[in-house]
């Protein structure tokens, strides 16, 4: 018994202390995957805030965007033209979703809209595989002028290896969040979007049609998805396996609160780092692979304490 307690409660920390460079490496890995989780969660939050739709298709949108980019490039389209085309594709997708899915389903219960986005997921998977083929592809990292090498940071008596692409990802993610923040704080459409999250009527009074807002947020989510897809694709490769990883965004979301942008970012980082630490230092005890569920368990434990999430608003029940 004492031995078990020792293995669980003492050993991992001893390891962290004795191999600090490795610990920092783990933290960095966790942080990077956390950023990617956060980006996917960000797409969810944007859409949920504006239309109360729990967009299950966010994960596949990431895959779809990345696939389109690689696919277009393979057809001989120059990289940046392909990137531009992909942005247009995401816009077209946003418009199509608003017209064909959201508008006819307006005022339906949440679960129905949720299911519709799963339907959308199937559709996009089928479409993506049909057009671009199902096999994994390599992201056109260098063509997009993204760095590929790695820095070696000699510190704490050891070495920490930082992939340049990861640093780029962090920078781009930060930039994207900053841009979004500016857009939402400073523009009319941003104000409308914030209003709509509280009250649909109030949003109308801002003078922008609900439909427009929906298109905008789905487009924004699409762009976020494209960026996420590039980053993620550059780290591994572009395949449909990504969509299961995208499910990780769910615990991130509940941890952060479904409607909170800072929550999504914080949640992403917490989950990313927590998961990596757990896997490296404790996973071995359970035979490994605990990464697949640890995030959910962390989120679940957290929810039991704070049901509305980290940044969610407190629910007061009334009769």
């Amino acid at each position: 018994m004492g031995g078990l307690l020792h293995t669980v409660l003492v050993d991992p920390f001893v390891q962290m202390w004795t191999l600090p460079d490795f610990f920092v490496q783990v933290l960095w890995e966790g942080l990077v995957s956390g950023i990617l989780y956060a980006l996917i969660a960000l797409g969810f939050v944007l859409i949920f805030k504006a239309s109360a739709v729990f967009n299950f298709a966010q994960g596949i949108m990431v895959v779809f965007a990345a696939l389109s980019l690689v696919g277009l490039h393979r057809l001989g389209v120059p990289a940046f033209v392909a990137l531009g085309l992909c942005v247009l594709i995401m816009l077209a997708l946003a418009v199509a979703v608003e017209r064909l899915v959201l508008r006819p389903l307006v005022n339906q219960p949440d679960i129905i809209l949720f299911m519709a986005t799963i339907g959308l997921t199937y559709f996009l998977i089928g479409l993506g595989e049909l057009v671009f083929g199902g096999e994994p592809k390599v992201m056109i990292t260098s063509e997009l002028l993204l760095p590929t090498g790695s820095y070696v940071w000699e510190t704490l008596g050891g070495r920490v290896i930082l992939q340049q692409i990861d640093i780029a990802a962090a920078v781009i993610a930060a930039a994207m969040v900053a841009v979004l923040a500016v857009v939402f704080q400073r523009t009319k459409i941003g104000r409308a979007l914030r209003a709509v999250a509280d009250d649909h009527q109030a949003a109308l009074s801002v003078g922008i049609a609900l439909e427009t807002i929906w298109v905008v947020v789905w487009f924004a989510a699409g762009v976020v998805a494209l960026a996420t897809g590039i980053m993620w694709g550059a780290r591994s490769d572009v395949s449909f396996a990504l969509q299961i990883v995208a499910l990780k965004a769910l615990p991130v979301l509940v941890l952060g609160g479904l409607t909170s942008v800072p929550g999504a970012i914080m949640g992403g980082l917490i989950i990313g780092i927590g998961e990596k630490l757990g896997e490296i230092y404790w996973g071995g005890l359970l035979g490994g692979g605990i990464e697949s569920w640890l995030a959910y368990l962390i989120a679940l434990a957290f929810l039991l304490v704070r049901p509305q999430g980290l940044f969610g608003e407190r629910i007061i029940e009334r009769v």
Partner: protein, 358 residues
């Protein structure tokens, strides 16, 4: 049009509360049962039974299970696949540890294990609602999935990581295993599904079902009427998981013959969830319709090119059918968000009142 109800009057509450108070409905049900028990086994090919009817029945049962939880008690779960897996692995373990006890007993017992696990993961439902709860059940899904992969004891250390169904007999007839005929498996499955559907319909019509619906429709009012949320929700989780667990056991023992963890993955959870939604929340009959729609339609879609004599690459067919199914789901949700059951209800109401509109 078809309905003629003049002169059908009830002289007792029992008759008034019957599931099918209208004579024409009772005749219809009798016909369906007749077809299912007689015509399908006699005329159905092995292929038809194996690829359509048997999976349809398995999924119908799982759908009823999830529908009890989601449609009646209003608790969203994304862990159906895992709960089915618990039933399957429990049944497998029971069947190998106690080989002399009848496999049907094991099947029914295995549901209890799923129920226990279901209750455990249902505990957070007291504090968490809606999508937040869905994430809690996802924890169950991924955790259990991991268990199926990483605990070799569960699959008896089989190097392939799969569970393989042993042959089990009843009255000298092979019920499970490679020697069991599709007709035998179909009939056993059908009988179980009919009985369990009957039990589910009993439950939802009594105070238990009403308590679930009270929690679903307005949990605060339910509480003030004296329904304690936690036991009520946990009972819903338990019963639902039991049904899913039995469905999982049946899936392996009477349909697949062998199974690996992917059979109980998140995709299965979503598939069953779709069956519930497309079939109709809070409708047992809808569960069957949903299972038929989501299972049989893709099978047909895949078979379609062949039937038309067109040769298309299998992968392409697969992709196109995904596109079609995804689009169809959205279309069905738009046309009737309450699912096939509501569609049927509406149609039936029209038939009952025709030529009047109401």
């Amino acid at each position: 049009m078809l309905y003629r109800e003049t002169g059908q009057f009830k002289t007792s509450y029992a008759a008034d509360q019957a599931v099918f108070p209208i004579r024409q409905d009772r005749i219809g049900l009798a016909l369906i049962l007749l077809v299912a028990f007689l015509l399908v086994p006699v005329f159905g090919s092995s292929f038809f039974l194996n690829t359509m009817m048997i999976p349809f029945l398995v999924f119908s049962l799982a759908t009823i299970g999830l529908n009890l939880l989601l449609g009646y008690a209003g608790q969203l779960s994304l862990g159906t696949g895992a709960f089915m897996g618990v039933g399957a692995y429990a049944c497998y373990k029971l069947a190998t540890i106690f080989p002399d006890i009848n496999i049907l007993v094991h099947t029914l017992l295995s549901g209890l294990f799923a129920a226990g696990i279901g209750v455990l993961f249902g505990l957070p439902s007291l504090r968490i609602k809606g999508f937040y709860l869905a994430v809690a059940t996802l924890a169950a899904q991924f955790f259990l999935d991991w268990c199926f992969n990483r605990l070799p004891w569960l699959y008896n250390y089989n190097p392939s990581g799969a569970i393989e169904v042993p042959t089990r007999m009843l009255f000298g007839v092979a019920l499970t295993g490679p020697n069991a005929t599709p007709v035998t498996r179909y009939l056993v499955l059908l009988t179980l599904v009919v009985v369990m559907t009957w039990i589910a319909s009993n439950l939802v019509r009594g105070w238990i079902g009403r308590s679930w619906m009270m929690i679903r429709d307005m949990d605060i009012a339910a509480e003030l009427i004296g329904v304690r949320p936690l036991p009520t929700k946990l009972l819903a989780f338990a019963v639902s998981s039991y049904y899913c667990g039995v469905a999982g056991a049946l899936m392996v023992f009477f349909w697949l013959g062998a199974a690996e963890p992917p059979s109980f993955s998140i995709n299965t959870s979503f598939q069953v969830l779709f069956m519930v939604i497309i079939g109709g929340l809070g409708s047992l009959a809808g569960s069957f319709m949903g299972a038929a729609f989501i299972w049989i339609l893709p099978v047909l879609l895949r078979a379609l090119p062949e039937m038309l004599g067109v040769t298309i690459a299998a992968a392409t067919v697969e992709h196109v059918s995904l596109i079609v199914i995804g689009a169809l789901i959205i279309v069905v949700l738009i046309v009737e968000p309450h699912g096939c059951a509501r569609l049927w209800q509406t149609a039936k109401q029209k038939l009952r009142t025709w030529p009047f509109p109401y």
